[in-house]
């Protein structure tokens, strides 16, 4: 099976491990000899318990068991812990949990105020999301509080009950550029006012 090996090799040089275990010939080697993809596996202590060995085992038929040895008991335990938590699935599980917690906290805060329900960042959504792979979504966290100068009668198109300083409601937007424009409205207005005041000073 083909794999984008060059990307894989490049990924091996980055600090953050992800769900891969790369192995190198020497400490100074640039390119790994190989990689074990840590998905759907278990990490166990070896029965032999000699020389701090542990094994990476996979569930599929005809899979290899990878036996590794650490240099101390502490190192072995640390490796086993780290490798057991290295899978994408595990990470996704934790993220789901945290997201749930945050949602519960936020809906608790809002009380009876209607809060726009936003889809979780890790699920596919049908609406256009202008994010690239580098930034987590802004969606689930309430935006920073409105500055005190905002007046209740400003006639913006926010949802009902939106104009309280401590809990502004975002317009129904899941698009960062719209969010950006929405926040930019106040700036645009301020700028217009300033320009007008400059004009009147000149006169």
């Amino acid at each position: 099976m083909k794999l984008n090996e060059r990307s894989l090799a490049f990924y091996a040089t980055c600090d953050s491990p992800g769900n891969m275990l790369f192995y190198f010939e020497e400490r100074e080697s640039r390119e790994p000899v190989g990689v074990i993809i840590l998905e759907g596996c278990t990490v166990e202590l070896c029965e032999a318990a000699e020389d701090f060995t542990f094994a990476i085992k996979f569930d599929c038929t005809k899979s290899r068991t990878y036996v590794l040895a650490a240099e101390s008991q502490a190192a072995m335990e640390s490796w086993v812990k780290s490798l057991s938590r290295a899978s994408f699935d595990y990470l996704r599980l934790v993220v789901k949990e945290l997201e749930k917690q945050l949602e519960e906290m936020q809906s608790g805060l809002a009380g009876s105020r209607s809060i726009q329900r936003r889809s979780p960042i890790y699920r596919k959504t049908k609406s256009a999301l202008c994010l690239d792979t580098m930034a987590p979504a802004l969606e689930l966290v309430k935006p920073p509080p409105l500055p005190p100068r905002r007046r209740a009668s400003s006639g913006n198109t926010c949802g009902p009950g939106a104009l309280v300083a401590d809990s502004p409601v975002c317009p129904g937007t899941v698009c960062f550029s719209k969010l950006h424009d929405w926040y930019g409205r106040e700036i645009t207005e301020l700028r217009r006012e300033w320009l007008e005041s400059q004009e009147s000073h000149k006169l």
Partner: protein, 139 residues
Amino acid sequence: MRYSERELLSLSPLLNALFFAVLKKRLVKLVVNFLFYFRTDEAEPIGALLLEHCKITREEENVFSISFIEEPDRKYFFECDTEEQCQEWIEALRRASYEFMRRSLIFYRNEIQKMTGKDPLEQYGISEEARFQLGTRKL
């Protein structure tokens, strides 16, 4: 058939686009941070793309491409049946990396900590896990 791909591609970027215009029908499957691709009648994938450090670009209608940081000019093109499908795939692929998921975790962890003063990872015993720390890595 082998051919001097790199030399040929360097002749002109337009030529680059022409080569990749020959699309083959494939089934693709996104599993964690891998995009597997299959011939339509085979159960085993021909290959897979690891979706880390990659850029998903909207190309023309129904088409998107995947390129990688270390080789930004080499693009893998995908043409979808509908615009909606194209959009769905782009969104899914942009969130498919381990890196994205990791940053989400750090983001939520921070937010919850700000709100409650407590580290939510403590209950899982993973607060000290190196991969979940903020700002310990360089890109």
